[in-house]
Amino acid sequence: MTSTTPVLEVRGITKTFPGVIANEDVNLTLYPGEILALLGENGAGKSTLMNIIYGLYHPTEGEILVRGQTVTMATPNDAIALGIGMVHQHFQLVPVMTVAENIMLGSETVKRGFLDTQTVADRIIELSHRYNLDVDP
């Protein structure tokens, strides 16, 4: 596999919801090391496309290739296994849980069978200091 193979390629993705076309024939190629920003007004279909790549929605048409291989993303678990992560908007957080709990949910740090909240909290504090983002885990 050469370095010119796109890590992620989206071909002809169309997603329709009853009465609405959210994405129509979307093509997108992402090479290693690239950072791609997707801009658009509310309702443009940015989140829909991301949700499709993350396996939350299933495309009506089109295909997704990861490192040159066609893949089917049935659930977020498939996407996670392929190395695709997604940071969601705030309303995808559990309000009553702590920052540390929200962050580790789904990929928990476990020590001897128990949640290792301390390690996660330490890491959050470390990161929040480095980026001057004051967060109480």
Binding site: L56, H88, E108, V110
Partner: protein, 336 residues
């Protein structure tokens, strides 16, 4: 906390000093009152734990009463069928039967609620009616279970005055129930399973987006909850009464729900609430035994229910149920 400490101090004083000569103090704090409290608390605590497991994952379980009754009946049938076995083997089989049938009732409730998207209150009611009907129909009034669990004194600890008699001289399911309170608490708040379960009950979509199979957790925990309610029924037959009676749960499943709410969906909170309700039942019993006649008997019998109503109505605004309980969860991808 302060109240608990007060009761412990009073209990020790009343049972070891001359204070024990006052009848009303013996009624309130005597060893027999406290023993009765624990016995009444166990099924309520197990029922409340059952509710906590289900509701924390997002499934409302008002069918605890039915799961308990089914568990009690299964325990009785298993015990009667194996009367000829050694006592402990036969009783253990009774416990296993109670767990199995309780779990099955839980699975049924989960299937109604998830697979068939039935309203969970209706499904719970179906469970109660089903259990009441089936057990009454199948119950053989001539069957007799021989023997029940007897108290096991914990070496050393049971020698502590008063406390040893109350807490450390009990039959096995009582110990098991107290241990389960701790296990459920630790499980819910300190393990991966608990974190994911709570996420399913609070915000299933968020859980789904990080790759958690919401409905699998709901099936699992509702089944486990059913097993706990079944165990409560097993306790009634194998440890408390020794026999099965028609509708023997007598509303304990509903008082368990009250204990769960009063305890704010927390295992230790629920145990505290269950103890309060258990204590009022003990008080009712002790007052009748002590021959209190200047208050009509019916008023004394009302005590546990009145306390339950007051506790729940007074606290219901101050506790917070899991945000997503009672709501069917469907993945968006699956709606195509």
């Amino acid at each position: 906390m302060v109240i608990a400490l007060f009761i412990v101090v009073m209990a020790i004083l009343v049972n070891t000093t001359a204070l024990g000569n006052y009848t009303w103090l013996r009624v309130l704090f005597g060893v027999s009152a406290l023993n009765f409290t624990l016995r009444a608390t166990v099924p309520l605590a197990l029922g409340a734990l059952s509710g906590i497991l289900c509701e924390r994952t997002g499934i409302i379980n008002i069918g605890i009463e039915g799961m308990m009754l089914a568990g009690a009946f299964a325990a009785f049938v298993a015990k009667v069928a194996t009367n000829s076995w050694p006592l402990m083997a036969s009783l253990t089989l009774g416990v296993i039967a109670a767990l199995l049938i309780g779990g099955l009732m839980g699975l049924l409730h989960a299937t109604f609620s998830i697979r068939y998207r039935m309203d969970q209150i209706i499904s719970g009611t179906v469970i109660i009616t089903l259990a009441a009907g089936f057990t009454a129909y199948l119950f053989d009034r001539d069957a007799v279970a021989e023997g029940k669990f007897s108290a096991v004194a914990i070496p050393g600890l049971s020698k502590i005055p008063v406390l040893g008699q109350v807490l450390f001289t009990n039959p096995p399911i009582t110990y098991l129930a107290l241990i389960l309170v701790v296990v459920v608490h630790v499980g819910l708040f300190y393990t991966r399973w608990g974190l994911r379960s709570r996420a399913c009950g609070e915000h299933p979509r968020a859980a789904d987006t990080v790759g958690i199979n919401v409905n699998r957790f709901r099936y699992l925990n509702t089944t486990l909850g059913g097993m706990l309610a079944g165990l409560a029924g097993g306790f009634l037959v194998l440890e408390a009464v020794g026999q099965f009676q028609e509708n023997m749960t007598a509303g304990r499943g509903f008082i368990s729900l009250a204990a769960m709410i009063f305890g704010n969906w927390m295992p230790f909170g629920a145990l505290g609430a269950a103890t309060l309700f258990g204590y009022t039942q003990a008080l009712q019993n002790e007052l009748l035994l002590a021959g209190v006649t200047n208050v009509p008997r019916q008023f004394i019998s009302m005590l546990p229910y009145v306390v339950t109503i007051i506790a729940v109505s007074g606290f219901v605004g101050r506790v917070r149920p899991p945000a997503a309980e009672g709501k069917v969860y469907e993945t968006e991808g699956g709606s195509e």
